[in-house]
Symmetry: C2
Subunit: 169 residues, 2 copies
Amino acid sequence: MRSESNTGTTPERGPATADILRALIVISRRGVADARIANLSLSMTDQSILGYIVDHPGCRSTDIAQAFRLNRSTVSRQLAGLMKLGVVRETTDASGRGRPLELTGSGWAAYDEAIGILQGVVDETLDDWTDAEVARFAHDLQRFNTGAAGETRPRHPIEAPDAPLDKAP
Amino acid sequence: MRSESNTGTTPERGPATADILRALIVISRRGVADARIANLSLSMTDQSILGYIVDHPGCRSTDIAQAFRLNRSTVSRQLAGLMKLGVVRETTDASGRGRPLELTGSGWAAYDEAIGILQGVVDETLDDWTDAEVARFAHDLQRFNTGAAGETRPRHPIEAPDAPLDKAP
DNA sequence: GTGAAGTGTTGCGGAATGCAACAGACAAGA
DNA sequence: TCTTGTCTGTTGCATTCCGCAACACTTCAC
């Protein structure tokens, strides 16, 4: 009994987007649990912050908070821990507001290690997919994410583009 | 361990699956934050538990814990809260081990309400997708999830099949 | 220079989670 | 039937993540 509270889309959309929502919920819940179980040196939260810095070099604490809809205090505390661990540091060129961030050498190492482990799980799941299907799925996911980025995009011009997506449709 | 259909993973696979992983991390983080912000009556955790009971009527506490890789104590506590709220109850027919669960009337109402709100966010994001693209994306996500279900499948015979997926290829 | 706005930090409390220990229920065998 | 082992659920305790509010510091605009 889904409530078909469709915005204005075609009648088809309701069930399909409901399925997408349910699937995303499962992915979220299962993903964080998987990351928790795999005994990584960094938590899922830390990992996502590192990932953001990788994608947006020179970003500041506030940018991370906006990207993940987190309170500034939360990011501040997480970053404090990461800097104490020596995986993140503030760049020297503090031109403008805030303090740009970047990964340290060990930061890259930790990031690559965690990504490698988690990617193993994903690879395993995608084992019986064709390359084309994988590429298409990756493309759709990135499209979904950039779309979901929404209005929070008042960013620095230095940063890398939000997603390198291309590949086949 | 997997069937050897594709294990060699062509050189393409690495980057693509890495993109998928990164996209999924972002989706997870952003999704839970979105759910937190939308002031739902139920938390994301509660919501996912309700969703599991919807998909697997008569399931027990342990089943939920296994599905989401959570500790039994965590699920126990969450369920205690949900039963106190009157959205979940134990079924009367306690044949066998454990105590089968089901949603109450207000449980269905709360579930539908939350799904409706969250679906609004998803619908908005998918605004400029064609129906076919949405359907394909939904299908890929469900395929990914069922594949990721993995080996944790020591299930009761009563329950509904793990996922109703079918639809278009 | 002064005021306004942006940025980061800290105190406080709440929610979610894991681990370990425990109690009750069920199943299989003597 | 009784006993023993296993499964299921619960509770105490600690930890992590998070938000809100208040604060200090910096940067910008006038």
